[in-house]
């Protein structure tokens, strides 16, 4: 209700971004200090969870975008179909 909040200021948004990137770097660097317990070969690679998480997300978004080309329809898809179908039906019965 009160117009702008502190999140609307570009300066603060930049600050948040810096904090976010700082946190990313920190989680990767912290791996040097914490003993991990890898179960398989692959997760003993450096910063495995970081790049695996990133790549998995990119792959899922790409897959979703690809699927969208096939399966996306206007959100009135079923409404239109229903009405048209019903009208056609009624017309037939009337004559």
């Amino acid at each position: 209700m009160t117009g702008r909040s502190w999140l609307d200021e570009p300066r603060n948004v930049r600050l948040l971004w810096r904090g976010f990137i700082g946190a990313l770097v920190l989680t990767v660097l912290a791996e040097l200090a914490v003993a991990l317990h890898p179960h398989f070969g692959i997760d003993s690679l450096f910063a495995f969870h970081a790049w695996f998480g990133f790549l998995a997300c990119v792959a899922m978004i790409v897959a979703a975008t690809g699927l969208a080309l096939l399966l996306k329809r206007p959100d009135t898809y079923y409404d239109a179909g229903r009405d048209a179908g019903r009208d056609a039906h009624h017309d037939k019965r009337d004559d």
């Binding site: 209700m1 009160t2 909040s5 999140l7 976010f20 946190a23 990313l24 989680t27 990767v28 912290a30 791996e31 914490v34 003993a35 991990l36 317990h37 179960h39 398989f40 692959i42 910063a47 495995f48 969870h49 970081a50 790049w51 695996f52 998480g53 990133f54 998995a56 997300c57 990119v58 792959a59 899922m60 978004i61 790409v62 897959a63 979703a64 975008t65 699927l67 969208a68 399966l71 996306k72 329809r73 206007p74 959100d75 898809y77 079923y78 179909g81 179908g85 056609a88 039906h89 037939k92």
Partner: protein, 554 residues
Amino acid sequence: MHTTTSAMTELAIHPGLVLMGGALLLPWLRGRLRAAAILLLPLLVLALVWQVADGAVWQLTFLEHTLTPLRGDKLSRLFALGQPSRLEVPAAFLYAGAAIGVALAGDLVSVFVFWELMAVGSTLVLWSHGGADAYRAARRYLMIHLLGGTLLFAGVTGHVTATGSVGFGPIALDSPAQWLILAGFLINAGAPPLSAWLPDAYPEASWSGTVFLSAFTTKAAVYVLIRSFAGVELLIWVGLFMVFYGIVYALLENDIRRILAYSIVSQVGFMIVGVGIGTEMAINGAAAHAFAHILYKALLLMSAGSVIYMTGRRKCSELGGLFHSMPVTTICGIVGALAISAFPLTSGFVSKAMISQSAADQHLQVVWMLLAAASAGTFLYAGIKFTWFVFFQTDSGLRPSDPPASMRWGMVLFSFLCIAVGVWAEPLYALLPYPVDFVPYTAAHVLTQLQLLLFSGLAFFVMLPFLKRTLTITLDADWLWRRLLPGIAMRFDRLGDAATGGLRDATHRVRVGLRAAIVRVQGPTSHFGRTWPIGSMALWMLVMLLGYLVLYYL
């Protein structure tokens, strides 16, 4: 049928039946009495559930089978506990009572009876919301569930005939009957290929109705799967498929409640993977995750419900910037989103980790990697997409206020529970069916989870242009029964019309032809109808008599 109450203990009241009885009484109560009943009934039932003794409590003899509608142990009690505090319609009571009935059932026939009551109750919850769309969605929902019930019934019948026992325990998959039971259970869990009933129907209920629906049907399915099919490897792959199906469709979806509905499928997939792995750790994980899921999903649905209630809009593309004026809803929504993404200090973290850990313990590398990818994906759509597009960018200019106090307090309570379970997991772990040998908060685990989630966050912002919100829906399996089959039926209808038309034409032609022929043969101008002169008659008589004479003399 004669009833014998053997193994009588102090308690012989079925909590599920109490709730259902209450549901039948409710419409006749008014005013304060009604409010009190709504508040007290679930509490009473909760207390009853807590007191159900281990072992068989009720037994009746029916068709020479001993039924055990009431059997208690740790697992069933945990599932019966998933009891949201806000109950408002009798249908929901019936539904909840039936779900409790499933959780406490000791034999397959009782499971089946409560299973069907659950379908009826949940359909009534959907119908109680009114509206033409809700009505149609509920009808589709009912059809799928009746199909599941039929499969289950056929399976139970076959199983009982083959083994002679109605016992509800681990079932070996060695004949079609057992596969039918599995199929019946999986349909309710939202497994492919019929998973589309869930995102189709749930968003059409009222905001509290959706909270209910998300709490019971799929959880009851997970429960019966744990009971009867733990360790079936197929379930791992079914579960993984559900996980990624849910993520991809949620990424494409525009309607906020459908996003959350797809995420139910995805999260139930995690649980089913746990059931499929089947070790004690995995079963614990699946049960814990089911419980955690009820909490954070209720929270997310309440925050989405608040947004819809206050703005009247449910599409991502029409929302955004709501944090300005709905701070409580925003914060509670973020807590729910973090919990579903298994962020440290939330309920999802302490439960989902057990499932991943059990995969690692069984050296299932592919499963483990896919689960890790799925955790990242969950954060992508539920953690960021949902909160980002609803509460932050891009500003829609809407400035609704937070919802009424009852809804606000509901959200705050569930936020508190999500965090409380995440911080202090021992009470939850104590409820689990097996002793828990798992420490969620190790430095390594927290760090790897943070890496996974924060970098998925980065992926979201990097790929933001690909996640543009569009006014679209994405076709799902329900296309089969909303478009393809009606299309075929319509085609047949038209074919039928053409056929009857053709038949009418043909008979008309035959009728006309027949009439013409009759007129030709028998009409006034025809051979038979004509008047003949007497002379020609006498001539023909003469010819005949002469012929006779000739023949006589020969």
